[in-house]
Structure formats: structure tokens, C-alpha cells
């Protein structure tokens, strides 16, 4: 049966993990010593934080890893109560068949400070029976007491040639032919995000058994959040209300994240500049704004308000003479 390739080809052992060699080396030492401190994995999306955590748990906990491994991701309501209840229930039982238990908390940076403080207490209380692995995109959003209790591992975006190697392997196993340049263009769009790279590859593979650069472009443009171009064009025509309404529609209905939207806005603006639809002065001015709003969204501002504000930058202004 077909499975999503991101799962089918998810590295199952530490050795298989791609592009994080120095981290893997250290983790293997922990496995040899059969003990580990609390760990924190930080880094952008799709660089292998979760994969590494699961692989480490398997290596560390052996045959009964599933019983002794608790994975909590950010979809689970993770207020203070959940942290206390779930983790407590899991931690107070002694590990059976494994040296200790491991709790993996994903996207800790989306927890409020209060919940993080609650977590810190739990981390202290169960040091004898359990170890924690925390993962986050931005370690700056983690409170200091937690950071100081963890060995911090910074995952870098995976290098282009390593992504290509991996894609190559998958393509071979799946009998997908590819013309030169195809995988390179996937890497270009994936921006060091292996999950995205693999998803692009699998999407492209639906086009046929031989895939080309064209196919990749096709997929990537289909996968773009819809209507970004329309939103921008409406703003450029001075229809702010229409533009704003469409933006809200897209974000509410499709659930497109602020980060995705702003990346698209950037790509769209950059394309317009290439096509000479906007002057270079205006372009660089807009890029400055986009960068600022991007930063704010990642800092935790309300993405929709920030994007609406960004739209006002596109409105035609009367020339001050």
C-alpha cells in the first residue's frame, strides 16, 4: 500500500538521519552510556527534530520503546493542566523494560510562559525516572530556567546536496526517473526543509514516472496558497476592503498560516519585480516591510492583523508633489 513518503522514508535509526552529523554523534554517546540529560532540539521546520527524537528513543529504550515514550505535540491542548496531568501520569510509573522513560514535547515555543513554568517543575520532579526531549523552532521563546536544564542541540537547515542524496534514494526505490535539474529545483523550493522536499517529490511523482523541472514548478505553483496574487492586485488597484476580505477568507477557510502567506507575498512581489511590474525602489521598500512583518509574526503577533497592515503598503498613494 502507498503511504506518504514522509513517513515511509522517515529515518528509523540515528544512523539514517541526514545532515545533522555532529548532533547524531553526541546522541550516540548518550546511547552508549545508557543515560541522557534533558535535551532541547531547536531549529526550523523539517530538519529532523522529531525524527531524531523518535530514533533516539528507539535506540535508548530498546524493544519496549513505545510503552516508555510519550509524544505530546502542540495540537494537544497544552495548558498547564495537560502538562501537569498527562506528564505526571506518565512519569510516576517506573519504566518497564527500559532504563527510563522519555517524554517528547513538540513545539514548546507555542506554550505560554505559565505552562512552561509548570513544565519546569515537572522536569525537576521526575529526573530519576524520566528524561525530557523538547523541540522548538525558536529557543528565544523558551524561558531561561528550562533552557538551563537542557542540553541544547541546534539543528541546521539540511544542506542542498544532502537533500538531493536523500531524494535520489527515494526516487530510485520508487522507480521515478528524473531529468537533470529536477531534484535541484525541488531543493530550491524546499529551503532546507526535508518534509517539504519529500512532499514536493511525491506530489511531482503523481505527474508520471519521469519527472522534470517543469513538473516541479507546476506542483509548487499549485501548492501555493491560493489567491495571493489576487489579494495583492486588489490592493494595488486601491480596493483595500476587497483585498482585506479575500485575505481573511483565505486564512480562515484554508487555514493558511501567517508564515506561509507572508512567504508567498514575498515570492509574488519578487516575481513582479522580475517582470518589471514594480520599480526597484518600490520593490526594495516593500521587501523591508515584508521582512519586518515576517519577523513580527514569528515573534508571536497576530498574523492576520500584521498581514492586513502589510496590504496597506500596496495601496496606490497620491504622489506628493
Amino acid at each position: 500500500m502507498n503511504r506518504p513518503w514522509v513517513e515511509k522514508y522517515r529515518p528509523q535509526t540515528l544512523e539514517e538521519v541526514v545532515g545533522q552529523d555532529h548532533i547524531i554523534q553526541r546522541l550516540k554517546q548518550y546511547v552508549n552510556e545508557e543515560s541522557m540529560p534533558n535535551l532541547m532540539f531547536t531549529g526550523p521546520a523539517g530538519v529532523g527534530k522529531t525524527t531524531t527524537a523518535i530514533a533516539l528513543a528507539k535506540a535508548m529504550l530498546g524493544e519496549y520503546w513505545k510503552q516508555n515514550f510519550l509524544e505530546l505535540n502542540a495540537s494537544d491542548a497544552r495548558g498547564i493542566d495537560t502538562v501537569r496531568k498527562d506528564i505526571k501520569n506518565f512519569c510516576r510509573l517506573k519504566a518497564v523494560g527500559s532504563p527510563f522513560r522519555i517524554i517528547f514535547l513538540d513545539e514548546v515555543d507555542n506554550m505560554t510562559k505559565d505552562a512552561q513554568h509548570a513544565l519546569r517543575r515537572e522536569m525537576e520532579m521526575y529526573t530519576k525516572t524520566s528524561s525530557f526531549i523538547l523541540s522548538c523552532n525558536y529557543s528565544s521563546k523558551i524561558i531561561d530556567p528550562i533552557q538551563s536544564r537542557c542540553a541544547i542541540f541546534r539543528f541546521a537547515p539540511i544542506k542542498g546536496h544532502q537533500v538531493i542524496q536523500r531524494l535520489e534514494k527515494i526516487a530510485n526505490t520508487e522507480n521515478i526517473q528524473h531529468t537533470p535539474g529536477t531534484l535541484e529545483s525541488i531543493v530550491y523550493f524546499a529551503e532546507g526543509d526535508m518534509r517539504r522536499a519529500v512532499n514536493i517529490l511525491q506530489s511531482t511523482a503523481t505527474m508520471g514516472t519521469e519527472i522534470t523541472e517543469e513538473h516541479v514548478h507546476d506542483v509548487v505553483s499549485k501548492a501555493k496558497p491560493k489567491d495571493v496574487r489576487r489579494i495583492i492586485n486588489m490592493a494595488l488597484d486601491g480596493d483595500f476592503m476587497g483585498s482585506r476580505d479575500l485575505l481573511r477568507e483565505v486564512m480562515v477557510v484554508q487555514g493558511t498560516s501567517g508564515e506561509d502567506m507572508i512567504t508567498q507575498v514575498y515570492q509574488e512581489v519578487s516575481r513582479m519585480s522580475m517582470d518589471d511590474l514594480i520599480g526597484s525602489e518600490e520593490y526594495i521598500n516593500l521587501v523591508g516591510h515584508i521582512g519586518e512583518y515576517d519577523f513580527r509574526i514569528r515573534e508571536g503577533a497576530n498574523p492576520r492583523i500584521q498581514l492586513e497592515s502589510l496590504l496597506t503598503k500596496f495601496l496606490p498613494k497620491e504622489k506628493a508633489d
Binding site: 506518504p4 505535540n73 518534509r195 514536493i200 506530489s203 501548492a223 476592503m241 487555514g255 500584521q306 497592515s309
Partner: protein
């Protein structure tokens, strides 16, 4: 000592104003004293008009009283424990009645005080004791269910003249010389709120021999809670910092206020430059909201208020002399209008997140790629099985039904435009199918065949039922049967909703 307490009325007749209401209350008390049980009382009126005072004054006519107000947490359990038991019990000596005072019933919090209104209703129904309740907002949804069961008495604002008279008496007793117009200003400002008038007087007069109009400056105008649209109007029409600051004294979350101001910027401002500038301000205000949330340092809110208030106000060149129709943010209406779609999206994202070890957010980010992967039938079918998506959930990724498969694996096909009875019967088959097929993915094909035949039998039954029904056989029914014939009846045709 607070003057509001010191000069609080000692007898029910001393209460200022509201003569008619007081008569009604008197009568109510008398009837109880004569052993005639009465409906419970609900006093509704603005703050500072003597509701709580009245309740306490009549308490002396009863053997005892129990009170719960907004500072107590008032969930179902708490109310039942503190009042429920006491109210259901009758006193040993028969005659003694306990007065139950429930203050600020319209202030029951939706979340913290869950079930509070239910508990009150229960107590009203079961209690043998007199109950008196107070509320500020006559239109509060929370008290609609109570109103029908109570004798409602409206308590009105106290007349300015009555307030002035009382303030005078206080000044005389405290030995303070006064100018009458000062007291009149205080009374007017209080807007019928006797308590705040006395408080204001105490602030400017305590420890002094005389008060003059200069003293009025040290107290600001009363903190009136404003209506949100009035506030937005002030922000968008005015440039006066004081007025704007006052206007934003609202009883809402700053995030909500920000949303509403943001919504109405382009409804008032016309020049793109103004819209841009105003939006700069709300965007910045929003940053501080985010920071406050993440750090739990709510001191940041003050920047939010200034930026979205005065900041937005100053973005205009000059005030527009027009009537603008303001509206509540379309964001909220979009949210509720698209609830079904969002629920579907989140449900799918949760299922996928479980399989792919990601949060919903990350799963949703990958949706566009899955939309492409769900186009070929085979892959779509397999992915749907893998993620355990039912037919309705597959709709997130493709509009067309997934066609049946020629081999023996979980067939999935969907037809649009079905009659409702068919939808129902087939939907149940669908869910069964998804379950069985995923479970059996490891088992042998033989077993799968068995499952399929079973299901197709079921399908046949469904079809028979359908044929008996009065509805004529529709066009798409014919369509769905054609491929079935090819598959020698082994395949099940499944339907889903468009």
C-alpha cells in the same frame, strides 16, 4: 471608615428615591412575615442605587441570611453547597426563615461559574426560603431564564437633587464648608450613582474644613464603561487624547477592541495614506498584545491601548464630516460561517498529525501537496486509508469521489447528489469499511475478500431498501452501477456528501 458605609441608611425608609420599589419590597417582606411564601425578588438597576443596601436592610426581618456575590466563585457545585443545602432545610423552630442574597447574578462568569444559573434556578424551585437577587443589566442573557420566575423590581437612578441633599447632610455632619455648585457637579458627574458620589466627596473632602471648585480637579470624571461602537467613533472621529483615553475604558479584552477598531479604519478613513498609517499603529499595538500574552506581562497592554487609540486617531489628516456606518469585524462572522469547513480541516489535520508526528498547524501547511497527491485514484485511496480519513474528510483534498479499485483493497467511491436515505445508509457502510480495511491491511487478501463480500451483501440490502422507496432511480445511480457490474459485484459503491 468609608463614608458610603458610615452614611448608609439604617432603616428601609431612609433609602433615597425609588419610593414605589421600596413599597413593593416592604409588602414582600410583610407577606413573608405573615407566613405567606412569595416569589423571589429580582432587583434590577444601575450600580450605586441601593440594591445591595436594600437587601441588607430587609435581612433584619428574617432570622438569618446567606450571601453570595461576584467575588465568590459561583459554579454549580459551590452554589449548591453553600446555599442549596441551607435553603432546602427548614429551621428547627419552624418559623425562622433565612434570607438568601445573590448579588450580581448577571455577572456570573460563563466559564468559571459554569452551571451557576442552573444552580440558582434549582434553588428557586426547591427553596422554602425568601430569595433576593440583584443585577445591573436588564438585558443580560444570563438572567432571562430567571426573570420569568421572579418578581422583578426596577431600581432607578437616584435623582440629582436627592444626591445633592444627601451630600449636603454629610458635609454638615463632617463639619465641612461647601459651595453648593461643587456638590451639584459631583452629583451630576455620578450620573445617578449615589455610591460613587459619596466616594468622590470623601476623596476631595476628608480631613478638610472646606471644599471649593479647585478640589474637583483632583478627581477625574467617573470611569464609565462605554459602548464599543461609541468608543470606535471617538477614536476615528476625535484627536483629543483625553477623550480617546476615556473612550477606551471598555469592558472588553484589548484584543477584541483592537479587532473592532481595525475593522472600521477603512470604513472611516478614505485616503490610503491614512489607512496605512492607522494600520501601522494597530499592527504595532498588536505586537504588544502578543508580547503580553507570551510573557504574561500584561503591563504591555498600556502600549496597545495608546497605539490603537490615539495612534489610530492621529493617523487622519482631519476629521471626516460624514456619517460612517461601523461594523463588527467580518473576521468573527467568517469564523462562524465557516465553522463546518474549519472543523473538517482541523479534524483532518489532527488525524494526519497523529500519523506524521506533527501539530495541526504543520499538517495544514502540507495540505497543498496532499491536494495534489490525492488526485490519482490509487494513491488517494491508499492515503485515505493510511490516515484513516472517511469519505467526508477526503473532501478536504479532492472534489471528486475516489473511484473503486479493480484489485481487492478497500474500495472507496463516492457519488454526489444522492438522496438522503441513500446517504445515510451508505455512510454507515463507509465508516465500517474504513475501519475494517485499515485493520485488515496486514491480514491476508483472503480475509479481505471475505470482508468485502460481507459489505457488498450489506450494500445489496441497502439497494433493495432503496428500490422499495418511492424515489425514482436517479441518473447517478445508474452511473454507479455500471462499474459495479464490471467488478462482478465484489465492489461496494460508497457515497458521500457534496
Amino acid at each position: 471608615m468609608l463614608w458610603t458605609e458610615k452614611y448608609s441608611p439604617r432603616k428601609i425608609d431612609d433609602v433615597l428615591g425609588n419610593k414605589k420599589a421600596i413599597e413593593q419590597i416592604d409588602e414582600w417582606v410583610e407577606n413573608w412575615e405573615h407566613g405567606e411564601p412569595q416569589k423571589c425578588l429580582l432587583l434590577i438597576g444601575p450600580p450605586g442605587t441601593g440594591k445591595t443596601t436594600l437587601a441588607h436592610l430587609i435581612a433584619v426581618f428574617f432570622s438569618d441570611h446567606i450571601e453570595l456575590n461576584a467575588s465568590d466563585k459561583r459554579s454549580f457545585d459551590i452554589i449548591m453547597n453553600t446555599i442549596g443545602e441551607a435553603s432546602a432545610a427548614t429551621s428547627l423552630f419552624g418559623k425562622g426563615k433565612k434570607l438568601i442574597i445573590l448579588d450580581e447574578v448577571d455577572g456570573l462568569h460563563g466559564n468559571e461559574d459554569r452551571g451557576g444559573i442552573r444552580a440558582i434556578n434549582k434553588i428557586i424551585k426547591e427553596s422554602h426560603h425568601p430569595i433576593i437577587m440583584m443585577a445591573n443589566d436588564p438585558y443580560s442573557k444570563r438572567i432571562t431564564s430567571l426573570k420569568s420566575k421572579c418578581q422583578v423590581i426596577n431600581i432607578r437612578k437616584v435623582h440629582t437633587n436627592s444626591i445633592v441633599a444627601l451630600l449636603k447632610r454629610i458635609c454638615v455632619k463632617e463639619g465641612i464648608e461647601f459651595e453648593e455648585h461643587v456638590l451639584r457637579t459631583l452629583a451630576k458627574r455620578s450620573n445617578g450613582d449615589l455610591r460613587s458620589a459619596i466616594n468622590d466627596l470623601q476623596v476631595i473632602a476628608q480631613g478638610k474644613n472646606s471644599i471649593t471648585s479647585n478640589d474637583l480637579e483632583i478627581i477625574s470624571e467617573k470611569d464609565n464603561v462605554n459602548n464599543i461602537f461609541d468608543s470606535i467613533r471617538t477614536v476615528l472621529k476625535s484627536k483629543n487624547p483625553k477623550r480617546i483615553k476615556n473612550a477606551l475604558r471598555l469592558d472588553s479584552e484589548p484584543g477584541f477592541i483592537l479587532e473592532q477598531i481595525t475593522e472600521n479604519i477603512p470604513r472611516e478613513y478614505e485616503k490610503p495614506e491614512e489607512i496605512e498609517k492607522a494600520y501601522d499603529m494597530v499592527a504595532e499595538a498588536d505586537m504588544y498584545l502578543g508580547r503580553a500574552f507570551h510573557t504574561r506581562h500584561y503591563g504591555y497592554w498600556k502600549y496597545t491601548y495608546d497605539l490603537m487609540g490615539l495612534g489610530v486617531a492621529l493617523a487622519k489628516d482631519e476629521t471626516y464630516k460624514k456619517f460612517s456606518r461601523y461594523a463588527s469585524s467580518t473576521f468573527y462572522s467568517k469564523l462562524s460561517r465557516n465553522r463546518a469547513k474549519r472543523d473538517l480541516r482541523d479534524r483532518v489535520a489532527t488525524k494526519m498529525g497523529e500519523k506524521m508526528h506533527t501539530s495541526r498547524k504543520v499538517a495544514i501547511e502540507q495540505f497543498p501537496y496532499f491536494e495534489i497527491m490525492f488526485q490519482p485514484e490509487d494513491l488517494a485511496r491508499d492515503l485515505a486509508d493510511y490516515f484513516e480519513l472517511d469519505d467526508a474528510e477526503v473532501k478536504q483534498f479532492r472534489k471528486r469521489k475516489i473511484k473503486k479499485r479493480k484489485t481487492k483493497k478497500a474500495p472507496k467511491s463516492t457519488t454526489n447528489k444522492d438522496k438522503s436515505n441513500r446517504k445515510k445508509s451508505s455512510a454507515s457502510v463507509v465508516s465500517k469499511k474504513t475501519k475494517t480495511s485499515t485493520k485488515s491491511s496486514k491480514s491476508t487478501e483472503k480475509e479481505e475478500k471475505k470482508v468485502l463480500t460481507e459489505d457488498s451483501n450489506k450494500k445489496d440490502e441497502d439497494k433493495k431498501k432503496k428500490d422499495h422507496s418511492s424515489k425514482s432511480v436517479s441518473k447517478d445511480n445508474g452511473e454507479s452501477e455500471k462499474p459495479e457490474a464490471k467488478d462482478n459485484g465484489k465492489q461496494v459503491s460508497l457515497f458521500s456528501f457534496k
